[in-house]
Point group: C2
Chain length 245, copies 2
DNA sequence: ATTTTTGATTTGTGATCACACTTGTATTGA
DNA sequence: TCAATACAAGTGTGATCACAAATCAAAAAT
């Protein structure tokens, strides 16, 4: 990035790309890894090396190690006693643990949001439903990435309306932790002829538009429980078939 | 730390102090800062510099910057646009936000713990009450540090029994964030002739010993709300008197 | 006297190096 | 043939340096 002092003057293009936004390399790496984690691009139990990521992200090891450290403290990654770091493996206990925490905290967030959202804000959320239908219309190629991204935008647009600077980062941390599980579940959905996700989102919007916190919470719980329950069944049946073989 | 290769052989003392525990300097710095934050040793709005902390902790800047990055992601510290980092200032909104989150999550944790704790575990908690009384007996010098530490041990001994690897780190993060507020409140308590904290803890233990999750949750809420309410009143009266002057 | 400008100091960020430790493989021994 | 040892490649950690940006102080101009 910063090799010589000369670059400063002879690199107007880079200056144009980042004219005022003081984005550090460390933050870029952190956000990149975060996105990959939430999207489930890394598979559970996969080990990550500092130098490997540094090469892949075209920087030195320095920003990567700081980003990894931050992700470890949010439990998005796991530090092994060997000092190597991996994405945490999926276990049934951990899944239930994560789901319970998400129901608790995201449920509270949407209940708060339901009482605080203006009709203007609700309409913004509602318009995102249309995007979802669009995507489902041309579903020949199952665009899992876009599905994950859209789902994330939908939920966090709501959570942001709860107005809690404490709850939102916690929810982000929970999504970070459950990202790998979710991706596995969504793949399984696609194979198993998936239920209409938009239906659940419509129920949420309906509850929000009449400011019904209780119903909104219930609808949200149903929505976020779905992939977990699906994955739990899948893992249990796999374990059962393995036990009999 | 690691100057020459010779140190390895000619430093048996250090080897004895850390015979097998592979403690890195980074972790030491992180835990040190964490302890200071929860204990409220830094005052709100105080800015921290990497080199300053590195000198104080007798290491290079490297472990400090990583520790600071980790604390920033848990919202225990705040990154200013200047790239300097400070402990977040206290505002009424933030206090209410923190208290609500703590009631939600710690309440859930103790409710879980109430149903899962063995009588053995309850007796361990109960014995900590005795320590508390001891300390209060010889209270000529108000040992705020010990008070904070003891309170922390009491609560986390309970939370650990909830058995959730997801909730506990979140609670730690919340304590980290509310640490500075609490310290201010405890000082105020000492000045204002403090209420008996042990009384609240006894109520909690009583509820736990009969495995009553609801009562335990209520008792806990009363306990953790106290310093927040006290501090809120203090800040509001200060603001009022400033408005009239 | 107030404002502006300039220069020096401080501070965060990224890169690189040195070292300890782990891991995996090949070589040597029985 | 198999086990144990030794060697080599790889990896995380800490220290140090270079640089840019911010901060602060003093000097200059209005």
């Amino acid at each position: 990035m910063q090799k010589t002092a000369v670059e400063k003057s002879n690199d107007p293009i880079a200056a144009q790309l980042a004219p005022v936004g003081r984005e550090t390399v460390q933050d870029r790496v952190y956000l990149e890894l975060r996105r990959a984690l939430i999207g489930g691009l890394f598979e559970p139990s996969q080990v990550l090396t500092i130098r490997g990521l540094a090469d892949a992200l075209m920087t030195s090891t320095m920003p990567v190690r700081e980003a990894l450290g931050r992700l470890i403290t949010e439990k998005a990654l796991e530090a092994l006693p060997n000092r190597s770091v991996r994405v945490p493996p999926i276990t049934l206990e951990r899944m239930d643990d994560l789901l319970r925490a998400r129901i608790l905290i995201e449920g509270e967030a949407i209940a708060l949001a339901a009482t605080r959202m203006s009709p203007r804000q609700v309409s913004v959320i509602e318009s995102m439903l249309g995007e979802w239908d669009e995507m489902r219309a041309l579903k020949h190629k199952k665009d899992v990435d876009r599905e994950v991204t859209l789902n994330q935008s939908f939920h966090f647009e709501i959570y942001r309306a709860c107005g809690s600077a404490v709850l939102i980062p916690m929810i982000e941390s929970l999504w970070l932790q459950s990202g790998p599980c979710i991706r596995v579940a969504i793949y399984a959905f696609s194979e198993a002829g998936e239920v209409d996700t938009a239906h659940f989102h419509r129920s949420i919007v309906a509850a929000l538009s009449v400011q019904d916190a209780t119903v909104a919470r219930e609808a949200l719980v149903a929505d976020i429980s779905r992939p977990f329950n699906f994955l739990r069944n899948k893992l249990q049946s796999e374990a059962a078939s393995k036990g009999t073989s």
